[in-house]
Subunit: 393 residues, 2 copies
């Protein structure tokens, strides 16, 4: 009787706890070897085994339960073998909650030199020292297992959003073959392995990619190739159409997205997991996210402003410092400013997700979403520069 | 009866609690409007209203009870009037313990352009924007009072250590006249005002400077113009001879010094207060102070070393991270590395002072000092580069 009372569990212990009756929004829970992850969730980006400027205790204080780390960067420096020898990534960086690693494919295509894609995988030269490397589906499984991630990502290609349809189709088909090879190399759900749906903004390609990736069978499904310049309308439409082909009992992860508005719109379209460099990178650029929109701390108007960045925010920065002080730190080139801005922005993103989860549970998600977006008066929509949503930080 | 049981209090509530019978080491307490400061004390340097990379809570965790902030920098940016309007420096930077501000004279002479010293004060151009400014004894009192410091410093000139005797004498005499003008501009002990003894390494000049500064009368007495290349033997000898002319019931402050060894040697010669950029600047350069000497975290030998920087250290960095991780952060250019190194180094310096205070109280200072220095096998003596002991960070 006790067992039957528990909600059904999908792969990797994903539990769908509630669905919003009016939208596609879902409230779920992902069980990992490093704790439970309540979804919808935002994953801070810890590119080089650190979320820039922050310590693990800062992430815990902000309520973070899962981080994304970048396989490409850690493979090149300090190397997955070194991290494995030292007990794995969790121990290396002092983080005892969950970690998702990407496959490295995206960074190879955006950062590395002399890259070449063929059926086997991607060959490239390191952006650090010019050394030659090849990442294959099998190799990226080996690297991510050595790192000790809780969630591994299959190798995929993320073509430019404006590639022609023929390229999108050929690339998507190859990504499917790579997905099958990743699955064969790691035929287990412990740690979890997620497949990645590609296909640009072409509905038929996305549908085929989703169906075939689902047929291979993964613990979760990611949407790749979005938030890279296609614009919010195309992104939202693609997310909405693609999630319809994904199983309800597995988590859906929209890679590299996005603004607060993007998160809310895509939660409404059935997405459970997000990662993005926006809160951390913008923090270091002096842009703070607040409940009433973005705030550029560099502006002279803040020079004598005693108010915290966001009067509604309970983060360490807002509880202790004024806009005037944060502006002083920024214009003086002080590292502390980058850190205090980052603490605030991550708290903002994670609190937004907390509120979204509560709203779904309470059955008031659409009203909460509309009210929250209405308050962000000056919040722009999806950034149109790929730079802003690069998936490493 | 209760009153007579308390030790006698000097100016500014300085209480001499114990003296070491074998050396000049003193255990004391300074009462300020922002709490008690147990001496000997090391003051972290918060140049631009922040100890670089650290938050007030980090400084409190390390046991810091007093910071030094730089008048020159804060005068130029964001300006003392702005800080005063926002409630003073404590509130601006979120620090509720004591603050000592320097006079700005040292930075004018080391950083500013087109500087010119005359009887009235120092004229210079800002290193930030080339704007013209004049700092006089009266002006530096006005600035420091506006900032709201607990301890103000008189304006002085710090000549190069190898200036000729005639220059040293003329400069020292002018510093005496400036000291009298500072005292006249601020004839109160609330906040406290310290005079500065100059005179290079020339014993007769130091003696006259100390006697005349004492005659003017201050809440405390600083030794300036040391740790700027004269070498440890000359510095220690000068400190020893100068403190002999200073009153026992007032604190003595050795400005801009120094290495852990310098601190111990100068405590033994009667110094109560120190400030130096070494722990913070070296942290950002990848040099860690440990109980067995300095450790260069950049070295390849640390790449796979699971040990903390210092097994005897209880700081956040040593409790949570390996040398391997700190090296990875450093070589990867991660801000977190600069911060974790700084947390460790300041903890080391403040803990060294805690141990010194305990040793003086327990009557075992000489033995503790010898044992501590013997453990620092690779610890070099006073840095011979003025860069390393600049008093702003």
């Amino acid at each position: 009787m006790t067992a039957s009372a528990a909600p059904p569990r999908g792969p990797m212990g994903y539990t769908l706890l509630a669905t919003d009756p009016a939208t596609g929004a879902r409230r779920g829970r992902l069980q990992t070897a490093h704790g439970a992850v309540e979804t919808p969730v935002f994953m801070p980006v810890g590119t080089q085994a650190t979320v820039k400027t922050l310590e693990p205790r800062d992430l815990a204080a902000a309520g973070s339960t899962i981080l994304l780390c970048n396989t490409y960067h850690l493979y090149l420096r300090p190397g997955h073998a070194l991290i494995e020898d030292l007990g794995g990534l969790h121990r290396f960086m002092g983080w005892d909650r969950a970690i998702l690693t990407d496959s490295g494919g995206y960074q190879v295509l955006s950062l590395a030199e002399l890259r070449r894609i063929d059926e086997d995988g991607v060959a490239f030269r390191s952006h650090l020292d010019g050394s030659r490397h090849v990442l294959t589906p099998e190799k990226v499984m080996e690297i991510q297992l050595a790192l000790g991630a809780d969630i591994l990502m299959a190798l995929d290609e993320c073509p430019p959003h404006d590639a022609d349809a023929a390229y999108h189709r050929a690339s998507m088909e190859r990504t499917l073959r790579w997905a099958a090879r990743c699955r064969a190399a790691h035929p287990s759900d412990e740690p979890a392995l997620f497949g990645i749906v590609q296909g640009g903004t072409l509905p038929d390609l996305r549908a085929r990619s989703a169906e075939e990736t689902r047929r291979i069978g993964f613990s979760g499904y990611a949407l790749g190739g979005l938030g890279i310049g296609e614009g919010p309308a195309a992104m939202y439409a693609t997310v909405e159409s693609a999630t319809a082909f994904l199983p309800a009992d597995a988590p859906r992860y929209l890679m590299g997205v996005g603004t607060p508005q993007d998160l809310l719109e895509c939660i409404a379209r059935g997405v459970d997991m997000f990662d993005c460099v926006l809160p951390t990178r913008n923090g270091r650029n002096g842009t703070l996210f607040t409940s009433t929109g973005r705030l550029n701390i560099k502006r002279a108007v803040h020079a004598r402003d005693e108010r915290p960045p966001d009067a509604d925010c309970a983060c360490y920065t807002c509880r202790n410092f004024s806009r005037a002080y944060l502006r002083h730190l920024y214009v003086s080139g002080e590292i502390l400013g980058l850190r205090l801005n980052t603490i605030h922005n991550l708290h903002y993103y994670l609190d937004l997700m907390r509120q979204a989860r509560q709203a779904i549970e309470a059955g008031g998600f659409p009203a909460w979403k509309d009210a929250t977006l209405a308050r962000m008066r000056v919040e722009p929509t999806t950034p149109q520069h790929a730079q802003e949503t690069r998936t490493d930080d």
